[in-house]
Symmetry: C2
Subunit: 275 residues, 2 copies
């Protein structure tokens, strides 16, 4: 039975069981768990549903039965929510780099050969000095395209000599276009995008390092996100150092909300540790 669903774009399409199953499996679900999740989703959504309902229903089931898998399943949306502006994404990427031994500086203005250039992240380790351009989109449909790779390269060329940079990286939270990938490879620029490179994309990097962004926590209000980010709390594990009382005092949260946020963070932290 083909069931019509409404996509984010407003278009209608038939509910695609294969697509749903493969998204559960990509998050780490076994064949059996994926099938059980699909059955739960089918029960939940009834006759009319949009992609959001399907997502929420699947996430709810996985959260109850396999929290670590649920966290991977919700990672893409979590990264999308690192907005509304790009600066939280920059700080997050800096944390990923630091976990690999790089020293980082975020949002620097450097004098280039021609003009002053805003460099999102400068990452150094040994002889390596990387100019990292971060491209944040707040909608999953927007791909980072050739123009982004082109201006990253031109910016790199402008600052390379004076800044003593050895390489340029472009890190984006969405997919990149084929042309952008081809150009980056050709110019020796490292491009990290969603599921690109195939086995070393952003989601893989995050999972390998187990550095989940705080936006993965359910029901984190937008104003709390900004306040946390300003205070350097970017990752779920950053929250481990805080008590309910700290959050209430430092961020003027209601005790109930502080408790809820910390409980989700702890559940997720131990699920990640066990996975």
């Amino acid at each position: 039975m083909k069931q019509p669903i409404t996509k984010a774009s407003g278009q209608q399409e038939a509910f695609n069981s294969e697509k749903a199953l493969s998204s559960y499996k990509r998050a780490g679900a076994t064949e059996q768990l994926a099938n059980r999740t699909l059955r739960a989703v089918r029960r939940d959504i009834g006759k009319s549903a949009d992609t959001n309902d399907i997502y929420s229903s699947g996430l709810h089931f996985l959260n109850e039965h396999a929290p670590a898998i649920a966290s991977r399943y919700s990672l893409k949306r979590a990264i999308m929510n690192l907005g509304p502006a790009g600066y939280i994404f920059e700080k997050f990427v800096a944390r990923l780099l630091e976990s690999e031994g790089y020293t980082t500086q975020v949002s620097q203005v450097l004098r280039g050969h021609c003009v002053a250039q805003e460099i999102d992240i400068i990452a150094t380790k040994g002889d390596q000095k990387i100019m990292v351009e971060c491209k944040y989109h707040n909608r999953p449909g927007l791909k980072s395209d050739l123009k982004v790779a082109l201006y990253t390269q031109a910016r790199f060329q402008d600052v390379q000599e004076r800044g003593g940079f050895t390489e340029a990286w472009l890190v984006t939270n969405t997919h990149s276009t084929t042309e952008a990938g081809k150009y980056a490879r050709c110019m020796g620029m490292k491009l990290i995008a969603w599921r690109y490179p195939y086995k070393g994309g952003l989601e893989k990097w995050i999972e390998d390092q187990r550095l989940y962004p705080i936006t993965i926590l359910p029901a984190l209000p937008a104003n709390v996100l900004s306040a946390f980010a300003d205070a350097g709390i970017i990752l779920v594990k950053d929250l481990a150092h805080f008590s309910v009382n700290d959050l209430v005092t430092l961020f003027h949260l209601k005790p109930k909300i502080a408790k809820h946020i910390l409980a989700s963070a702890q559940t997720l932290n131990s699920a990640i540790a066990r996975s």
Copy 2:
């Protein structure tokens, strides 16, 4: 007496007589005509007005008293209306180049060193072969910024050798940022924007060549604009070759509209010829 007006952004500001006067004079009005226009506008707009009312009222007065000056006054909006997409702007810039003896090709895909690149205009004359990047914005507030200049340069570097290009130009219908101008100068890229360079900006180029775009005609419906552009009618003077009957037959216009469009075009054409 300071009168509040509403800007396109919704902000309120006091009506600035000096700003209005200088916009009339920049279009070629004498001191006297500028003052008369200002008085007419003040009479027209009454107590509450937005920038559109002020613009329309001034344009109306100038149209009656000095059509050629009115056309220059409305040029910026005409260029903004060369949308909604950028391809009509590309064709318009190609016409400007042709009037200076260049041979042009619009919207070409060329193989670069790394990837296939979309080149808006290839312009050749003698030993010169120019890669022209056109940047069209449909709102006057959006400036062409450093990133645009950067990707134009990187694109140029990618196609330069295989395409045998001698230089890169960036032509935009809006203002450009100071940084974009500085970078372009430093890299030897020619940048033509609104009132940039100071005495050789886009508006100056258009006026020197007397090549007014059809969007300068009052009340040209959007669907007619696209149909005209597809048929190669980009300039007011292109319309001179057509009769009312032609426009009715070829573009399925109502005779009344066709007549109105041709009459405005002829008035403007002769006003331009006399100016």
